[in-house]
């Protein structure tokens, strides 16, 4: 699993629309913030699901760039075909906790499988999945150790 960053904004080609947005500071996860109770949701939602909140007004928001690794696992079996990944090999999936109280799952990139440690700081990155019909690289959201450098560098 590589953590290669696209060199230009034009290369930004996420596997699902609406999950991420490309900013000048690099890609960010797109979520929803409730204007009533200020809870944050990921991925984007049209509603607030806080039972203590009666608000029906939500706005789009970007999650923080940096979070803490809450847990991880290494998948040793290839997932079913809906997951398309060139050059598949065992890879890590982590849960990163963001300051918005949101825990997000995603592939981990830019770190050896034996070196992953809970509690370390991770930043959002893009990870290559497959080449689409036009030969353009398709990305998914991933997390990489902060020490590896932020995507804007």
């Amino acid at each position: 699993m590589t953590g290669d960053m696209p060199s230009t904004l034009e290369a930004f080609n996420p596997v699902v629309e609406g999950l991420m947005v490309q900013t000048e500071a690099g890609p960010r996860l797109m979520g929803t913030r409730c204007l009533g109770c200020h809870m944050t949701y990921f991925p984007s939602s049209t509603t607030c699901r806080n039972p203590a909140c009666g608000s029906d007004t939500v706005e789009s928001t970007q999650l923080s760039l940096v979070g803490t690794l809450y847990s991880y696992t290494v998948q040793h079996y290839q997932p079913p075909p809906l997951f398309r990944n060139d050059d598949w090999q065992p890879y890590a999936i982590g849960v990163v906790e963001f300051p918005e109280k949101v825990r997000v799952m995603g592939m981990l990139s830019g770190i050896a499988l034996d070196d992953i440690a809970i509690g370390e700081r991770y930043v959002l990155a893009l990870s290559d999945l497959v080449k689409d019909a036009d030969g353009k690289q398709v990305h998914t959201h991933a997390f990489t150790p902060e020490s590896q450098g932020t995507p804007s560098e």
């Binding site: 629309e17 999950l19 991880y72 696992t73 998948q75 918005e100 949101v102 995603g106 592939m107 959201h141």
Partner: protein
């Protein structure tokens, strides 16, 4: 209503892979076993509640009570079909309970029967291929399999409590040892810790023998009023409490198939199940020390450590010591899945929660040959279904 609701009969078929049998035939076999146990025939029930999934049966609606009746005993009774993924059996049980407790009916049967699809479970028809569909997202963005979700919990447990590979393996060993004499269990050969740890790594830290596979199976119970239950001449087993639950906002559990959750401090982990357990116990007026047998959903060995803590039987992190010192064994402090659990059965989704009730009934009657919890008087079940479905049942003799 004040007279209570009782389990008048319980029956199941052995779990396994049954490619030559239909779901309908399995359901009928399990119901016949439960009727035989209750000493009644098909004419003895006034209602039938089926636990349904989308895998097979009922012209696409899943296991269908009407379809079963039309095949065996075509007459007018109350037929209800309920969903709730792996918790469907507990929800069906709750429904039947209410039908009797309300005074509407004297006897209602509950049936769960499932033939699981081969390989990965396909997405439901009509699913959206966009960010509104969690199942789509988990596959296309990271290929997160069900074991990966459980592994994330298990890995965090290792970090929080220092749970060892050996302890996680010992939970699998315990389930196999419990299942050894259970004729309904699919996997009954004893296991060693070494064998568990030598099985292929699926998702760190979970090995193949720490994850429940899928099976085909069917189980049924007959619920009745006190008068009806007394009429069967069988030992009385009372439904002292039963409850179903849904997820609470802020729950930290990694809920399949979501890829994210908003976590709030103080909210119970796996709240759909813990809430059900709490409510069922309150309804039964029992406390944790009163419970002799717990039949709980052990999709992995991690569940066997985590759930007794979530329910409050032991403090967080203490299950490791309990399992390593035989305290969760059949005649330990708390008998944990004397049936052998999902790990020894393989999961037959909708049937699983009904089978839990059957096992509790056999335990409370003293009929669980080779796995009997001595003097068991109170038993509790706990089950989790996809999409925030939970259920728990407390039985008393």
């Amino acid at each position: 209503m004040s007279e209570g609701v009782y389990v008048a009969g319980a029956g199941a078929i052995p779990w396994g892979k049954r490619p030559e049998t239909t779901q309908l035939a399995m359901a009928i076999e399990a119901l016949n076993a439960a009727f035989l146990d209750a000493g009644i025939g098909w004419e003895g029930i006034e209602g039938l509640v089926a636990a349904s999934s989308r895998f097979e049966g009922g012209m696409g609606w899943g296991l269908h009570a009407n379809e079963i009746l039309q095949a065996v005993s075509e007459r007018a009774i109350s037929c209800i079909n309920v969903g709730g993924a792996c918790a469907a059996g507990a929800i069906a049980f709750n429904t039947a309970y209410s039908m009797i407790a309300s005074g509407q009916h004297d006897s209602v049967a509950v049936i769960g029967a499932e033939r699981m699809p081969k390989g990965f479970i396909p997405r439901p028809p009509g699913s959206q291929d966009d960010i509104s569909d969690s199942d789509f997202l988990r596959w296309v963005t990271m290929g997160a399999t069900n074991p990966a979700y459980w592994a994330l919990e298990a890995q965090r447990r290792r970090y929080d409590f220092g749970t060892s590979d050996e302890t996680l393996a010992r939970a699998s060993v315990l389930m196999r040892s419990n299942a050894a004499a259970n004729p309904y269990a699919r996997f009954r050969d004893p296991l060693t810790i070494e064998e568990v740890l030598a099985s292929p790594m699926v998702a760190d830290p979970l090995h193949l023998l720490q994850i429940c596979p899928v099976s085909d199976g069917a189980a049924a119970v007959v619920l009745g009023s006190r008068k009806f239950a007394e009429g069967t001449g069988r030992p009385l087993v009372e439904v002292a409490g039963c409850a179903i639950g849904s997820g609470q906002f802020g729950d930290p559990a990694r809920r399949i198939p979501t890829i994210s959750n908003t976590v709030l401090e103080g909210v119970a982990h796996t709240s759909e199940v813990t809430t059900s357990v709490k409510r069922a116990m309150e309804m039964a007026s029992v406390d944790l020390p009163d419970i002799d047998v717990l039949e709980m959903a052990d999709n992995t060995s991690w569940h066997l450590l985590a759930w007794p803590e979530l329910f409050g039987f032991v403090e967080p992190g203490q299950s490791d010591w309990m399992i390593n010192n035989g305290r969760f064994a059949i005649n330990g402090d708390l008998a944990l899945n004397p049936s052998g659990g999902f790990l020894s059965f393989g999961e037959a989704t909708t049937a699983q929660a009904v089978l839990q009730v059957c096992e509790l009934v056999w335990q409370l009657r003293g009929e669980a040959v080779g796995r009997q919890v001595t003097g068991a008087r109170v038993g509790m079940s706990a089950v989790l279904g996809l999409a925030g479905n939970g259920g728990s049942i407390v039985l008393k003799r």
